[in-house]
Amino acid sequence: MSDFTSGFWNVWVIALTVGGIAFCAWLLLATGRGIAPPPDGAKPDTTGHVWDGDLAEYNNPLPKWWSNLFWITIVFAVVYLILYPGLGTFKGVLDWSSTGQYDKERSDVDARVKPLYDKYAALSVEKVAADPEARAMGERLFLNNCAQCHGSDAGGSRGFPNLRDKDWLYGGDPAKIVETITGGRLGVMPPLGAALGEQGTRDVVAYVRSLSGLPSDPLRAQIGKPLFAQNCAACHGADGTGNQAVGAPNLTDNVWLYGSSEATIAEGIAKGRNMNVTAGMLAMPSFKDTLGDARIHLVAAYVWGLSQPAAAK
């Protein structure tokens, strides 16, 4: 696709480039021609400027070695413009592009490190997690790609799940972890403030807190229970233990993604979570293209190993 808004600019760039080179060549020819040596006794040609009454400058052509260097640059420019893009939309006979070079360098690196990953690709995630060398590789990949959100220690932060605990939004078995990293996740909690009303929201908050054994008003919790069954159970389950198929958190384990205070839970219920998120902002992005299957395998093994007491050493 052309970057130009009209065909004129293509011609303009080509004309300027070719004209510039031609002008340089003409200049070299015109000024480089040997000046005839002055006849006996005559004064050599000077530039005509005179300083301090008697200082003049000979008007000699450039030395050959010097003007030849300029000729070399002209030859270089011509060869370059034939081989590489430079003349308007002409792509050059090598068909080079920066994207193409990036892709090639990437695939070169991938090919070079492939044997390293192949060794582990054949093993199950559990076996890979038991290999110290693979864990070190997985840790480096994690620090470079995942730690920005989940923390260097994978402990997570507000809105970003802790990966060290046994609590999983979408399931913590190896296959699920690979699926999460490969495809990304976007869990959405719809806003229920309008449906529940202010009092209703407070009642549901009390009930939800009671599920995890947090102090709450028992009366409100009592009122909140049917409201929960009516509005929340579809995703979070009748008993509040969540549903990993849709990423609905377990509300009974006292693990809180956004915090456990009444105000925080009320905010989540009333306004929802991730409602205005464009994919890639607070959502878990897909790492399929960034990392590729072989690396995802290692990262998954590292992440899985973090919550396995046997492997986590």
């Binding site: 040596p37 006849p39 006996d40 000979y58 000699n60 052509p61 030395p63 840790e139 480096r140 620090l143 730690a147 920005q148 959100c149 989940h150 923390g151 260097s152 220690d153 994978a154 402990g155 997570g156 932060s157 507000r158 970003f160 060290r164 915090g259 050493k313």
Partner: protein, 475 residues
Amino acid sequence: MDTKTIPIVAVPPAEPAEVSLYEISRKIYPRAVHGWFATWRWALVWLTQIVFYGLPWLAWNGRQAVLFDLGARKFAIFGLVFWPQDVIYLAVLLILSALALFLFTAIAGRVWCGYACPQTVYTEMFLWVERRIEGDRLARIRLDAEPLSARKLGRKAAKHAIWAAIGLWTGITFVGYFTPIRELIRAMPFSLGPWETFWVLFYGFATYGNAGWMREQVCKYMCPYARFQSVMFDRDTLVIAYDAGRGEPRGPRSRKTDPKAAGLGHCVDCEICVQVCPTGIDIRQGLQYECIGCAACIDGCDQVMEKMGYPKGLIRYASENALEQHGGAREMWRHVLRPRTLVYSALLVAIAAGAGVALSLRNPLKVDVLRDRGALARESAPGLIENVYRLQIMNTGEASRTFTIRAKGIEGLAVVGLAQPVAVDGAAVRTVPIRLQAPADAAAPGTHKIAFEVEALGEPRLEREEPSTFILPRI
């Protein structure tokens, strides 16, 4: 009557020949010279080249003793491994080199140029090859004037082949300081990387071109040091000087002639001093910018003086003051110790001693702390605040070590969830994600200064304290 007549021939005026607009560099054919200073130069040629060609072949602890590994960003010099963080030592080395150049130049002019500069050393080696194959000055001039013949072609080809071989070997050795030289030789010539090939050929060609073809042109037109060394000269600097008072009026004479009676000075005008000069100057015209201070003319002249039965030293190391005042050698040497050289020496010794002490006290443990930026703090359990960091532990020593990590600065601050001690291989960096925990009420909410303490097990001397911050949020 026996008269000699000189036939007079009318010469037609020469055709107006094309005059070159530029100076033509005439080829210089330095004549071989032997003597005290030439011996010194050869000693330095041997010394510098044994070191240069030999060093990459030495091994140390299973690696190349001197290796500047640009890829791994580690410079190994025997037992010392320098990391990018040690760049200060490179600066110190450059300062020391500059001060040494100032000092030696102030004392005895361009001694570096004359004896130890690679341009001089390689030119000396290449000239030696040239002399072996083509003969000394006169033979070479004759050979160049001859028309092309099988003999001339053979000699020239042999000379250039040997030059090229020396150049190539120099290129390989040079690159061998950056890529392990044994691997380099094994990879020759087809499995070399593109950059290695380029630099081998580049340095090979530079050696061949500079020492074979360019020679004095490098010193005269290309070298910046040559130019700024002259500003370090003063009237007490020893330079190679012709004693005009003793030498003039010059003129040829027989050995039996008494110069005084003939009204001549000691210079016999044999031009040996001009013929041996590698830059093609006549030292009798006084100090010139082309003079690289190689003292070849001293050696040449002394030989002639000896043959003539005159005292040596018509051309000698002398200062401008000494030549003018005809002071004795003792007085001239006393002027070597003047404020300028004393200041240079004092600075040189002080900086060298400082660098030596710093080097011997260098801590092989370096630690960098990187706070996690994604989350400032988190509440890990009710009333407990966690901050997350990455510690980069650099063990610049060659032995692998184990380290314990502690943190201090807030009451109850503790490192949690880390298997201690942490092992780090020799000459390696390890990144350790680390969690610090403190009670939420340990201090007022806000940012608090803390410090990590990293200590090598069994080596309490190897301890580093690295500052960071701990954030207690308002909850």
